[in-house]
């Protein structure tokens, strides 16, 4: 009986931890998405300085999470997002490339969305 309780407890603990991880990831990626969307709006107003600041904030937040993300997610996905943030920042240094910036930012937002979506407990992920 003790073994049954321990095993059930451990399974529930793992399930809880994985659900917690999903919720945490969702919150953090949503915060990043907000920053990047606001940055895009700033570019629309030609406020390149604010856009740069917001994207830099997004990069810092991503870097803060790096250890946690490396422990829980596929390393390729994390590195890809880091590279995309750097790419977006690079486009912000050349104001004439608004279209390129918009495309890179949209790609980054999609990557973040997909990363979060892949962790969600949905029937389509289970199947």
């Amino acid at each position: 009986m003790k073994r049954l309780v321990i095993s059930l407890g451990l399974l529930l603990l793992i399930a809880g931890a994985t659900l917690g991880n999903t919720a945490f990831l969702k919150t953090r990626t949503q915060a990043l998405e907000e920053l990047l969307t606001t940055a895009q709006a700033a570019v629309g107003r030609q406020d390149w300085r604010e856009a740069e600041d917001l994207t830099k904030q997004a990069l810092d937040q991503w870097r803060e999470l790096e250890f946690y993300l490396h422990v829980t997610l596929r390393h390729d996905d994390i590195d890809q997002i880091l590279a995309s943030i750097q790419e977006v920042r690079q486009y912000l240094t050349c104001p004439e490339d608004t279209a390129e910036y918009a495309a890179a930012n949209a790609r980054l937002l999609t990557q973040l969305e997909l990363l979060c979506e892949a962790e969600c407990l949905t029937l389509h992920n289970i199947l």
Binding site: S7, L11, R74
Partner: protein, 234 residues
């Protein structure tokens, strides 16, 4: 591009991951109990195959978090543990998970239906019987295919070897032999447990022409005082 330095650190990461996964698996298998190691029921076979596969992926691919290997392994071990407790508690559940023994030979007659159901040919049955030391099918009363895939055989009463009791002979229980010297090393704890001492041991060795324990490969003593002695070669 992987540089020489990069390749070196990659190797050490693989090494550390391998050791961690190995320790996790060994700890898990030990927690499952001894039965898992020796006799594999169908569910246990599946568990062993899955664990081996799950462990090998993060071991080789450092781009995958170690947790991706450890979490499913722990989940599998927990599930297997729950199933094992439930099989102990419920005979019906046990039959469902482990299957039931099949009588391949019943009262001396081969049961063809059971052979077909278990997808065993007559040749395979005869081979299994030969492995059990039975060469004449007519001597078999029952042959049962156990749920772990092993064949148990009961011979006709007339073909069973006579026991000491049946033969009316006096048989002495010798008990389990205790090792006193293994590969030249005296096991003093075992010596004490048997109520023996170094003087007794030296006398026994001298009687067998050994100058020291270093010349002995194996020395055991049973509960009746019987000794088994094997000297080292050369």
């Amino acid at each position: 591009m992987i540089t020489a330095k990069g390749a070196g650190s990659f190797m050490i990461i693989v090494l550390i991951r391998t050791v961690i996964l190995y320790v996790v698996i060994i700890a898990g298998i030990r927690l499952m109990g001894k039965r898992q190691v020796g006799e594999l029921e169908p569910s246990e076979l599946v568990l062993a195959l899955l664990i081996a596969d799950l462990a090998s992926v993060p071991m080789q691919d450092t781009g995958i978090p170690l947790l991706w290997g450890i979490i499913p392994i722990i989940a599998l071990l927990c599930t297997a543990s729950i199933i094992s407790v439930l099989t102990l508690k419920s005979p019906r559940f046990r039959d469902l998970v482990c299957g039931t023994p099949s009588f391949l030979i019943r009262r001396g007659k081969v049961v063809e239906g059971e052979l077909r159901r278990n997808r065993i040919t007559l040749d395979e049955l005869l081979e299994e019987l030969r492995i059990q030391g039975v060469f004449d099918l007519s001597t078999v009363r029952y042959a049962i295919l156990e749920s772990n895939g092993q064949l148990s055989v009961l011979l006709n009463s007339a073909d069973l070897p006579a026991t000491a009791a049946q033969a009316g002979a006096q048989a002495q229980d010798k008990g389990v032999p205790t090792v006193l010297i293994a590969d030249g090393r005296v096991l003093t704890d075992n010596l004490k447990k048997q109520g023996l001492d170094q003087v007794w041991l030296t006398r026994q060795l001298e009687a067998r022409g050994a100058a020291s324990p270093a010349q002995v490969l194996l020395l055991t003593v049973d509960e009746a005082g019987g000794l088994y002695y094997a000297a080292k070669e050369g």
